[in-house]
Symmetry: D2
Subunit: 343 residues, 4 copies
């Protein structure tokens, strides 16, 4: 099949190109980036020199319709819904990696993204694309809203509890992200000397991924009061969520472990670590894996759920390809089997 | 005055030597390290080449008594109380940087440090050395238990709440530490390729600094149920505590800010950041400062307290010198006025 | 085909396991590590959790003979030649990743590795495994000496000059390596706080990879006087060689560029960067690529050749698999097509 | 004395403020930054929160004349000579940290900095400010051209050879710099994900610090053919120069060591490391020290000189203050005695 990557010059787009270059069932027929149109892909990303000879294109709906069987959208929020509208008519699978179809309510969208949603009628068509939670819905979707990186890590950590109706009180998600999560745009906050060899929280009052996490937990049956604090860690890739859940009725380590084992039994991309182990972001670097572990602090009623992903893979491009595989009837793991790059 | 640094070859010892080398009232007359006796200080720490010509000594109580007016102990726990016993008779000020005199109960000590406390009668003499909390007691102490790095950051974040009787429910301390906190001993967990460019939690079930935090909060009037999770971050120095406090009766931003302003008004080494700012460990790198900020997550009953220190300075050697200054009647800030090294 | 990885617990061994796990023509039938025998591969390397269920074995020549068609040896120098001797009788392809068969003279070996060579009669059978230089010899070899990481980067940078007889004077190879090149063994020099956020040269008087570089340049017709200085850079992976070559008769940019284009035309794993571009180690991270660029300093007679590889891939495991592909009649690029992981 | 820092918002300016805040003889009476006028110094640099309460000013020559006894200029090249002209009339000491007065020829300046020099008549008044080389001239200067960071490290490494007339052939300076050397302006090349965990050369064809190095070596009596290649290393601070010198008549380790010992005997800020040791940038982090070591590669005629500094201290602000101390008759080491921050 032929894939088009619309908005291919950011880190997420480049990661799509990287993974797709060895995907057995996909050929990239188009990679667009208005700002870099005509420029060689390999000149922006020398890492792709061995895989792509061509240049970035400009997106033209008609040309796209002709040359692509499936679309990945790596556009900024507020831009993406415009292109989704143009593509919707084609009836071809679309995976949108922006935030535009993640929240169910256009009002919530406007509140958090400071712009009115331009395609509210398509919101109900969009399936929230975490295959481990919504596999069947993804498989039959035409439009997948690829989740945010933080929500992917947080939700894979909380899903078994939410599905079991065990999320009833305060939940604290303390998340640490690598800097690639902030994208390729230049800001003081991502200027090397400002952040290397140091750590800091940000957006404590409210980050855009908070309503996304809340939305999904609610849908899954949780009634949690979620606090979410993102941190910038001095690393390229990786998200680590350390999530604190107050459990009513106390903590039962064996029962909780069984709950998680059952939830993720047979999942290729979620590994429950052995008892006592803690996930490390490096172990999933470059892979579509999510490592999950449970911690039981001394004598308390708090469960600690730890989950780690690569923000650009399971948190973006890898999960997008996993979704596309399902939508297109390909093997779900196609192109995604590579282990993490460690060290 | 003449200071002896007993156990000077670890990172904490070297940091004492670094800061003391420009202290206006102190001359280092002795730096001991059994393993490196006779070896040049500057050969282990080339950074000290311009400041120290001499070699590490072997500790001899009598020689120490003759040549030192005050002692810093940078020994491992379980070793330190032996030397404290030897020094106690001299009546000279001792700042112990080990864990040996931090917990009030010898049983708790034995439980967490796997060794019986060999000087339990001295425990009640030891003052827990956070000057911002216990200034007067420190000033009149002969033996100061210099706090752990994590407890220093956590307690400076929580002290105003605890003192105001506002710590009544669950408290989550999510702490991120630089790798120097793990010391100079070689372990796989501190081997560069294992941890660079990645993050991970550890000791989730219970870290030795947890009972220290609990002990102090209790003394301050808190009745908190504390969960504490340390993380290893890919940086040399720095501790960042992101602390989540459920407040009964809701969160009053203005009132809380005032509480913290009053608590730290006039403190040279605690800076309350402007509203909306978040602390970053880099800003306190190499300095004795603690940066504190308050966060108010969207519509909840949780207060987020963020506190950042340099684990080797305010979290160890700097605070030890601050304590020593008080114990010896020197200016509290002597030798400690340098700002953080940024970037 | 079935491959055995003998000495699989080091970083090189783990990298072989990583790449082989998605190799279309190879199944890993045995991974041995005496020290970790019986321990799960994924417990040492959680990154391999999705790919390997099994445990490390102990190496037994007979069992190995039965279950493997080809062997990779990731053993320390001085250990490797013993196993090579045992395997030689089997007549199956062996790729030795140690230094034991890289130097042609047993005396040189003893001088640099402080141990007598125990299998000098096999030295002449061993082919030095850089396919871009010795493709035919590798294809017909039974024993390949997989090159050192530094020599791979240096030689791919110098090969076109050497082959053209243009290496006649002083050559300076200033090399910068990531810390994974020092392996998994604990040393103060690889202890995170000692090296993170800093740089340093080492082994200035003479590094073991120097005779290997000299040996090969001589074989290729060079008469160079090589100075080689390795540096430890604060990064996980990557080698960058900045090589300074005094050219007799001056520097001809266009001619030199053409020389390199011809030398690497059609090579999948060597990319000559566009004029003016400089290689960066990140662009080849995790890939088998070598990026090469030429620099022409203002008005001089010195050519600067820059070459970058991932020390664990093209500098070790990837090149070993490339060699094995050739030795076994598989597609040379099989399993090795993935682009670098950037950022 | 009262010092004015003109152009105080960049990393060099902030470093001046950091060091001056504990200088015993200097009070900062003015810190200007047009872009941030009126903004709190501590809001840009929270690390300075404990040291500076005030805000950035706008530079006004008359106000400056009234409130300052000495000036530091942290302006961009091309801006600085304008202010120097305004200040020259005052007759007060000026240390210019820009490149504007480093080259002796206005033509060379225009060639490398793409702008005509607007104050060529002042060029001959400017003393090139490396006190270890030009101490007396600095002490009697009214205008000091503070050297570039790379030239400082390179020249301190080469000075004894040049002064001894031993620089007669090719010299290769392979330099590695931390990212703070590129300043606070946002560029893709200093965007964290582009460079963290990787290395790369740049400006191979000719960097602006090359003519500065050449100029000085010539003045010192060298007739060297210098090649200079800067590299960006993934670290905040530090410059490491690995310099390769072909010596006519061969290499005499003992004699060379003696030459360097004599050259730097008694210098507080240059430490010749013990035989066999290599400098590491971390050991000089935050200090005004330069560590120098000599390496003698196996059997050759090349001497390797290694020199390490902190680019923001000895490579900029620290050396500027050292120059100012001399110009103002203060103790040369005043405010600069602190050892490096290690680890």
């Amino acid at each position: 099949m032929k894939a088009g990557v619309i908005g291919a010059s950011g880190y997420t787009g480049a990661e799509l190109l990287r993974i797709l270059s060895t995907h057995p069932g996909i050929e990239v027929s188009m990679a667009t980036a208005r700002q870099y149109a005509g420029e060689k892909i390999a000149s922006l990303y020398p890492s792709l020199a061995g895989a792509y000879d061509g240049a970035f294109d400009v997106f033209e709906p008609e040309a796209a319709a002709d040359s692509c069987d499936v679309f990945f959208l790596g556009l900024p929020h507020g831009e993406s819904f415009k292109v989704v509208k143009e593509l919707a008519a084609l009836g071809k699978p679309v995976v949108d990696l922006s935030a535009d179809f993640r929240l169910q309510s256009p009002d919530e969208y406007e509140k958090w993204y400071d712009t009115a949603h331009g395609a509210p009628d398509l919101l109900s068509d969009a399936v929230y694309g975490i295959p481990e939670i919504y596999r069947d819905a993804v498989a039959s979707a035409r439009l997948t809203a690829n989740p945010g990186c933080y929500p992917t890590a947080a939700l894979l950590g909380l899903y078994p509890l939410a599905a079991a109706g065990m999320l009833r009180g305060p939940v604290v998600v303390d998340a640490k992200s690598g800097v690639s999560g902030a994208g390729r745009s230049l800001t003081l906050a991502t200027h090397y000397p400002q952040i290397a060899d140091g750590m800091q929280p940000y957006s404590v009052a409210g980050h855009r991924h908070l309503p996304e996490i809340r939305d999904q937990l609610e849908k899954l049956g949780g009634e949690a009061d979620v606090v979410f604090t993102p941190h910038l860690a001095p690393m390229n890739r990786g998200i680590l969520c350390t999530t604190y859940v107050r459990l009513q009725g106390g903590v039962d380590p064996a029962g909780l472990r069984e709950l998680y084992e059952n939830a993720y039994n047979g999942e290729r991309f979620v590994q429950l670590l052995p008892e006592g182990a803690c996930p490390q972001t490096k172990a999933v670097q470059g892979s579509n894996d999510c490592h999950v572990a449970l911690g039981f602090p001394d004598g308390g009623s708090t469960l600690v759920v730890m989950s780690a992903i690569d923000n650009l893979v399971k948190g973006a491009a890898g999960q997008a390809i996993q979704n596309m595989n399902l939508m297109c009837g390909l093997e779900e793991t196609a192109g995604l089997a590579g282990p993490g790059l460690f060290p």
